[in-house]
Amino acid sequence: MNTIVSQASKYILLALMVLFTIETYMVLRRRDEKSRNRIMRKQIGLMVMFNLVAYPTMYLLSGDFQMLVMFLSVVCFILVVQVLYRLIYRRASMILLNTMCMMLSVGFVIQSRLGMETAMKQFIITSLATLICFIIPVFIRKVRIVSRLTWLYAVAGIGLLGVVLLFGRITGGAQLSVSLGGITFQFSEFVKITVVLFMAGMLQNRHDFKTVLAVTVVAAVHVGILALSADLGAALIYFMAYIVMVFVATRNPGYAFLGLGGMAGASIVAYRLFDHVRVRVAVWKDPFQDYEGTGYQIVQALFGVCAGGWFGTGLFKGNPDMIPLAYEDFTFAAICEEFGVLFAICLILLCMGMYLLIVNIATKLEKPFYRLVAVGLGTEYAFQVFLTVGGTTKFIPMTGITLPLISYGGSSIMCTIIMISIIQGLYIMRTDESQAREEERMQQRLRRRISNQEQYLREYQRPERRSGYPGQGQGGSGQNVRYGESARNGSGDARTGYADGGTTKIIRKLNRSQNRQDSADEMERKNGQEIGDTDELAKKIEEQTKNGLEIHY
């Protein structure tokens, strides 16, 4: 019985994940609001289903009652967040929110599988962070000063990293965290955000060599401190964000190549200088060389990755606890083992979708500062995924960082949620901006159409043109009756034929968008009252058209 449950659940979970991933990409393609909304609702359903399958399965297999507690908590969390977002930030990117919730779901499931205690802790931190981060979009919208605190970010970032370097206690061979009142903070996570804010602030208006140089120096100080603290993963992520932001701001590929060259050089120097770098490269080349020692972690992770095959072993049927740090740096290996490689590939695709969403948002933003912030944070996210997934599967040397939103780690999850909230804030502003733009465009279009219309009408008023066209049989189908009628009446024959309901609609739209203008309002009212009268219609419409035109010219 247990096996059936576990095996059935593994295929169901995979199917749900595949569907969810497909829907995410469908949203990227779909433009119209309606089908987007339908997909969003479907995704929430899939998410709830995912949890509904995963936790009861784990409860059956482990007999741990807390699984059900966890299930209720997670589902509540998802629903509350979804509802709150819809109430407070109606214009936020729901697809980004959904993707985040799905990844959190996967994270909570695998954390619960690996250890209830850490899973609970993770859940509490996540909920708190999400709640606190509700303020961020408002903050971004209202407090415009954020784009002018450039040097403050640099000082704060370097300060925090410096503190870690000076007072940090050793964890896992790297000085990564500082304890404050019992809570351990990994500042390099928070500095990820400040460094992006700093670079965006510097590069928002000026892209001259001096500015780039200043940015480079400050970024190099950040990276240098991290390299000294042996936090190579974070160092690489900062560096990547730096290269991308400078390139995007200056549009000069030369800087990007210089940066990449610099990175290559720095890597060689780091390889020569730091023992821990050499160890990582050696382990990457041949993890079996020092199986009992430095290679042990990665070898166990690799065993985990291949243990599950395409479909995984099923929950509680694998041995992810044989992987050291499975809940932290090697979560991806644990996922591969019990959920299978196909599921893991879906997860990568989901991360990629998240990144594409962020870049998409970035390109739509007006202000260079926000654009740079979005692309910077997105790059950090994407590269972190690349480093940890690539490291776990020995595609690249392991750098020892977490899989955002999925791995255990308070600072990591908090920062990722902050980052996503910032991007939500930017997106909300984008929808503000784009809505204004959309209205503007709409009006322009109407103006153009109406002026064309007018020209057209004027042309037909000329007698020589009118004689060329017999009254009947003109105009599009469906308009014939009315057309004929007005022709019989002998007043403005052709005109009426063309100034049909379409124009009325345009005008209505136009008027709606300009409802502050009384004359237009009046027109609409009149229009509404008298529209039924076909005899009067032609004159009215002509008048309205003229009036409408007067509004603009």
Partner: protein, 486 residues
Amino acid sequence: MSSQKKLKNRQKTDLKSITRPYRIVSYISLALFASLIGYMVYFQVFLSDNLLNSPYNKRQEIVQEQIVKGSLLDRNGNVLAETVTAEDGTESRNYPYGNLFAQAVGYSVYGGSGLESTENSTMLQSHADIVTQMQQDIQEEKKQGDNVTTTLSAVLQQAASDALGSNRGAVFAMDADTGEVLVDYSSPNFNPNTIEQDWESLVNSEDGVFLNRATQGQYPPGSTFKIVTALAYYRQHGTFDDFSYTCTGSYESDGYTIHCAGNEVHGQESFQDAMANSCNCAFAYMAVNLIDKDLLRQTADQMGFNQDIPVELPYNGGEFTLDANTPNQLTMQTAIGQGDTLATPMLMCMVADAVKNNGQMMTPIFVKSVDSATGSNVKTMQPQIFGDVMTTEETQALEPLLEAVVQRGTAADDLSDLPYQIAGKTGTAEYGDVSEGKAHSWFTGYTNTGNNDIVVCAVVENGGNGRAPATRVARNVFSAWGTETY
């Protein structure tokens, strides 16, 4: 109007040039993600098998609980080892041929041995198609592991066993072209079906039943080594034609005398005569006088002595020492395969294979293919070349010598009447106290029909001096090859 248009165009290009780097960055990131996914697939398809089979991977033991270990089959699909599930669900391995494949197939308890051990992880993987796997998952059935088709032939193995009877010894045979091992038989042996009951006595017995004599048994190669000596001679002189020796039944150098078998006197001999007669005196004479010692050592090394051979089963290498400072006494013995020289039946089989195969020595392989329980091919092994150890010219010179051995020489009594051409070399390798006259009997040779030829090497311990000639054992294998589909 036109200026407006221009403005608009400019705005458009502005927007485009702003978003362009964003697009470039996202394309690069897409490439990174795509490479990651590609690598995951590559990892799963190509790398994961090796990792699953890694001896460090402790998950194997756990996997065993979910998969029914597959079967080992002979080259014709006869089951050599299979999993039998009792009614209460306990699984055990069954070996239908009992003792016949004791060492080659081995057993799976007590850490395992033979192919049961080396192919263990292969048989514990299931490459059954996805639908079947899903079905088995859902029906809570254990998955059926992959089956390994070995290169072994039950027919030929049986022929070897029959011929060897109760004698101690070994037979190793392989396909001349591909190096596929057809026979890997060693006696004495044990019954792997009852290994657990017999374990205590088998471990304490002094018969060395666990030793796979065909691949691990190190014997002095005796006269079969004359193939190598002859090759060294040919390499030094470029021809056998100028050789002539008059055998008086003994040859003396530096106060040490060597005798021909049975003190026989062969008289005037060409090189071919010396080989056919297996004339010790002639070879001792040529080693002392006509062959550079370093060249002989180099030749032996090239033939696989003192080298690692990449075979799947445990094996021992050949041992050979000789250099310019070696005293003549030892040189004479070395030339006729005595002295410090040691070889396994597998190695001498490979030497004969090189002669048959135009100088290309094949590495013995034991596995033909791996197939899933549902019959789909998982992988097929390719022949492996150990080395191009002789030139065609050299093999063309050596072949008539080995044919002469069978047609009119020391193997003629046992092999010349077979209806197809066989070439080879006999050997009588003295061991232990010379005065007791104990000697192992050797034969290594091949069929030469041009069609599915096989190379057979047989050793019968203490079968020398006519007691139980290895040639007769080999004959049984050759005739089984000739009359039956193996």
